[in-house]
């Protein structure tokens, strides 16, 4: 400090810079010292209370006297979530999917958790929001947001499909029918009028696809008169399906819905949730 502004008899640290610069040796303010001491104590307490010191060689660490772990904190949070869900989950246990659907509050709850379940278990084949996912052969799995259901679109049917899985079979016809016959049939089917050719009934297509060509939900056979195609809907694509069949050995189209009950991956309640969620896609 310059002489001009000497603050009286406050002692300095004794160091002098540049001839006239010195530092006051003032005590820090009391509140500041209190804060410093409190912080130091806090450090020690924190160090002892929480896991802190890694112990070398033992792959272990000092666990803290408080017994705190991140896992237990997470479990505690989870139990809060479970508590909120509990009252709904308890109801779901004894309800049929149709009964859930009739309760708007439960439907709301179920569709919310159904979204996550669908993303984890179904979307790989059926696509996000059930839009379907395609490969070179056409759709891997059917679209779920339209009104065409191979095995039935009632809520019970959807639930049965998820629980038990689905697998229809169509035999390969390349040994049974001539190329010309296949060509005629494929053209008629592509036009949406399978019954326009007598071959459809003569060759036994009606046995599975019905006399009117609209399919049978009990067998999972496709409706051949609408605009929705399970596989490739072009003439070439239809010919391929007729020649090689579905789920009928090498070269055949593959259409297998696994049983989620057999897989054991989903609980009963979860399969109910999914049934409602899927049912709500298009309705």
């Amino acid at each position: 400090m310059s002489d001009k502004h000497n603050a009286g008899d406050v002692p300095t640290t004794g160091h002098v810079w540049d001839g006239d610069l010195a530092d006051f040796a003032n005590q820090p303010p009391k509140w500041w010292m209190l804060g410093l001491t409190a912080s130091a104590i806090w450090c020690v307490v924190y160090f002892l209370y929480y896991p802190s010191i890694p112990v070398s060689n033992t792959q272990s660490f000092f666990k803290g006297i408080g017994g705190w772990t991140a896992i237990s904190e997470m479990e505690a949070d989870k139990s809060i979530v479970d508590e909120v869900r509990g009252k709904y989950e308890a109801k779901l246990k004894d309800m049929t999917p149709a009964a859930i659907l009739a309760d708007s509050e439960l439907t709301e709850y179920v569709t919310r958790s159904g979204k996550v379940l669908f993303g984890d278990n179904c979307a790989a084949c059926h696509g996000t929001n059930g839009v379907g996912a395609a490969d070179a052969q056409g759709l891997i799995a059917p679209k779920l947001n339209d009104d065409d259901w191979l095995f039935g679109g009632k809520i019970e049917d959807v639930h049965t499909s998820i629980v038990g899985g689905r697998q229809a079979v169509m035999v390969a016809h390349k040994e049974i029918l001539s190329a010309a016959e296949i060509d005629t049939l494929a053209n008629a089917i592509a036009a949406g009028t399978p019954t326009s050719t007598p071959l459809f009934a003569e060759k036994g297509c009606t046995a599975c696809h019905g006399a009117d060509g609209k399919g049978m939900q009990a067998l999972g056979s496709a409706n051949l008169t609408d605009g929705i195609w399970r596989f490739d809907g072009s003439v070439e694509g239809i010919k391929y399906t007729i020649e090689n069949g579905v789920n009928a050995g090498p070269g055949a189209r593959v259409a297998i819905m696994p049983s989620f009950q057999a897989a054991g991956k989903l609980s009963d309640a979860e399969m109910k949730k999914l049934a409602v969620y899927v049912y709500k896609f298009g309705k």
């Binding site: 001009k4 502004h5 996000t128 929001n129 839009v131 679209k143 947001n145 339209d146 009104d147 065409d148 409706n223 609408d226 605009g227 929705i228 709500k280 298009g282 309705k283």
Partner: protein
């Protein structure tokens, strides 16, 4: 400054330090015990403080239709103002309200300096009430200083205890009054008496209670000088046209003690250097140094000086509300010639019309329709195209109502699915439901067709809301 040689030696920067010594700001080293004097501005201040803050204590108890008339129900995200319910969707009006408040502050400050600080601010008001209590219990400033310096005695303990108890009571009442703007007042009292408040309730009460006690009891003018940002903001709102408590230097100087009649001496101004203006000042400044940081323009020094001038038989107004222009003899402009004020007023009017528009166009219902984007549309087995829409209806009435949903797209053969049995919308919160629109693909003339949705109350069709969205289809 006075020492020219020194300036030469040490450079001009040093002058700042000399100025610093002249600054009349109490940096908290002493408690200011301001004298309370009756007067015109004292009376005004009493009334303005009460006019603004008595409602703060009392309005929450006002009932309207069996509910609290004004309730900022943050927990349920609803603001009630008599019959009006404002939901978060309309909160943009709050920004206009804040704009009005800011601009009013600016406008008033540019005309008459820190009116807010001197006559309305809670810091000024609560400090004033706290010191009033202090004055009643411990006596006048001289007695208070004496008591502070006195050794501990039974009398001192008694006085101090009563004072702090009353202060804490007022602080507690302040905390409670603040809280009951946000929760039902009577319910709150009931919970408080049964010590049954939620945790957040206790925290708010403690924060505001302790805050009031510390700020009004101890920090006082230091809050205005060192803590308050508005004090600084308002400082720059004034200009040479702004009127503020001003000491008339030309009339007052050179100041000097009052002489007995006939006593000879050098010529003297009107200021008799009685220090009454300093003694009454709640922030402890000497107004004779001119406009300064510590001055909250409360006008109490005007009262004090006028009383003295009356006594010594000189005209009032040695300290008076005056502008810098007036004091320096420049022409004084009319209020409407003050462009800055006019700009503020214009902004206030625009913001006000915005709020009036908002409040008159709140509507009883609002609707948002979000079309499904994955997929944009679905082809159905009969070849028709279906779109899915998520409806979000906000029912602002005070009861749950069923709504009828209609859609107008101009597409032939359009079918609306999913809202046949009039969905129920809950009042005071959003309700979501899904609606499908299906049209024959041959009626589609373009990929995107505007579609106009409307929801209206089944029983009362005047409660309605509309929203325009798009219907998506394949390339025709």
């Amino acid at each position: 400054m006075s020492d020219a040689n020194e300036n030469k030696e040490m450079g001009t920067v040093t002058t700042i330090y000399h100025e610093f010594e002249a600054w009349q700001v109490n940096r908290g080293e002493k408690t200011i015990h301001a004298k309370r004097m009756p007067g015109f501005f004292r009376t005004i201040k009493n009334y303005t403080q009460l006019a603004l803050w008595l409602p703060f204590f009392l309005v929450p108890y006002l009932r309207w239709n069996d509910k609290q008339a004004i309730l900022f129900d943050i927990q349920n995200r609803q603001f009630h103002f008599f019959d009006i319910m404002v939901l978060p969707q309309d909160i943009w009006m709050l920004s206009l309200l804040l704009l009005i408040a800011a601009m009013t502050l600016f406008a008033v400050t540019s005309v008459a300096s820190r009116v807010w600080c001197g006559y309305f601010c809670f810091q000024t008001a609560w400090t004033d009430w706290y010191t009033w209590l202090e004055d009643k219990i411990e006596g006048n400033p001289a007695a208070r200083r004496k008591l502070d310096d006195a050794p501990l005695s039974l009398d001192k303990i008694k006085k101090k205890t009563i004072k702090h108890a009353l202060w804490l009571l007022l602080a507690l009442l302040t905390g409670i009054s603040f809280s009951i703007w946000f929760v039902d007042a009577f319910e709150y009292w009931n919970n408080l008496i049964h010590l049954n408040l939620p945790k957040v309730g206790w925290v708010v009460l403690a924060l505001f209670g302790v805050g009031t006690y510390l700020l009004a009891g101890f920090l006082r003018e230091q809050a205005c000088i060192w803590l308050c940002p508005y004090a600084r903001i308002q400082g720059v709102m004034g200009d040479s046209q702004t009127i503020l408590p001003t000491y008339d230097v030309n009339r007052g100087e050179p100041r000097g003690k009052l002489r007995k009649g006939g006593e000879a001496g050098p010529p003297q101004g009107d200021c008799i250097d009685c220090f009454q203006c300093v003694q009454v000042c709640p922030t402890g400044v000497d107004i004779r140094h001119g406009q300064q940081l510590g001055c909250i323009t409360c006008g109490l020094c005007l009262d004090a000086c006028d009383a003295i001038m009356d006594k010594v038989g000189k005209p009032r107004g040695l300290i008076r509300y005056a502008s810098l222009d007036e004091m320096s003899g420049k022409p004084v402009h009319k209020l409407y010639q003050h462009p800055r004020t006019l700009v503020y007023v214009t902004i206030i009017l625009i913001a006000m019309s915005g709020i009036i528009y908002g409040l008159t166009h709140l509507g009883a219902m609002s609707l948002k329709v979000l079309p499904e984007r994955q997929p944009l549309f679905v082809q159905m087995s009969d070849g028709s195209i279906q779109n899915k829409y998520a409806f979000k209806v906000l029912n602002k009435t005070d009861k749950d109502i069923h709504v009828k949903v209609t859609a107008e797209s101009g597409i032939e053969g359009q079918v609306l699915i999913g809202a046949e049995n009039a969905p129920l919308t809950h009042h005071g919160r959003g309700t979501s439901f899904t609606v499908f629109v299906k049209v024959p693909s041959k009626s589609l003339k373009q990929e995107i067709t505007p579609i106009h949705f409307r929801v209206e109350g089944v029983e009362d069709p005047t409660v309605f809301a509309e929203y325009t969205s798009n219907f998506n289809g394949p390339k025709p």
